[in-house]
Amino acid sequence: MGRKVSLISTVLGAGLLALSTYGTAMADSTLKSIAPPANHPLSEIISGYEFRASETQDLQDDDFENPGYIWVDKGEDLWSEVDGAAGKSCASCHEDASESMKTAGAEFPKWSEKLQKPINLEQKINDCRTENMKADKWKWESEQLLSMTSFVRSQSRGEPVNVQVDGPMAPFFEKGKDLYYQRVGQLDLACSNCHEDNYGNQIRSDLLSQGQTNGFPTYRLKWQKVGSTHRRFKGCMKNVRATPYKVGSDEFVNLELYLGYRGKGLPIESPAVRN
């Protein structure tokens, strides 16, 4: 695993956060990785699943014991529930989700012609609701939006993450990349300092992953519920004592897009279980 330990002294210098090389005990060969495309910043792409304890992995592997499936179930109910002035449900247009949503979960954030910018799955669902169903938007992190996102993304389980990053997406991709390498907050850390330079190392009692997004919406044991990618971004920003961007903001969508590229080819695991 490509680790740069030179940064550690800088981080310890901040005095608030202790990163150690203790986690190197983890044998590299036990982590299942996939080969990145050419010119990729990572030498190996590893799902967050590989960094978790076997008990947590077992929880994810069993579709019944995985608590995330409560939300998938709720999403399935909502799929055929008529809402809004148009008298439609998701199923009115998209019919069988296992067919129509087979690859959708792996492709977001996707280009929106209307808005001339990329939008993520949550925004697409809400766009569908307001435009086609004439229904109200669901609030971010609301039970309905989390359930529907979990349900739709779980239809794409096993599909390789495949976001478009060229063409009109390119400038947004670059913005996301800038954000990834931008040091922020009192601890002066960028995403890359933990998730590129130190994945596989301990951050206090936790093992740092590559910060991949292929398992979102994820059931986090800490949250005791399912949460969105943007909620996780906010948490990360708070951890480095920065002021988080808002959920659903352009900044976070750009970052999500860039992270999609960093995890290119990883199978969708939603709803994943993480600690």
Partner: protein
């Protein structure tokens, strides 16, 4: 509070005298009654305080649940089945609500 949804998993068919595994989970916040809101007021306790499983009306498994149980409580237990019948699962909420789910098993 979010919509409460029980999930149950058990085999559809079994042989007489076979021991089957039953898994149940319910979405519930399990508010312990020990947390405080931003103003410092205690958030009222609201948990699932009882769980029971009946087979053809007869209780075969049951338990009381205390505030220390985590959100979305999960129970797994075994049952020996002798005849075809219906399992009924009942969760009792602090506010008096009950959530039920039924599932039949065919025993040959």
């Amino acid at each position: 509070m979010a919509k409460i949804k029980p999930r149950v998993k058990l085999p559809k068919k079994a042989k007489a005298g076979e021991t089957i595994t039953i898994k149940t989970i319910i979405s519930h916040k399990m508010e312990s009654g020990r947390r405080k809101d931003k103003k410092g007021n205690v958030i009222a306790r609201r948990i699932i305080n009882k769980f029971a499983c009946k087979f053809e009306g007869q209780t075969i498994f049951g338990c009381d649940i205390e505030p220390a149980i985590s959100a979305n409580p999960y129970f797994q237990f075994n049952a020996k089945v002798e005849k075809t019948g219906e399992f009924e699962f009942i969760w009792t909420d602090d506010n008096g609500d009950t959530y039920q789910k039924k599932q039949t098993i065919k025993v040959s």
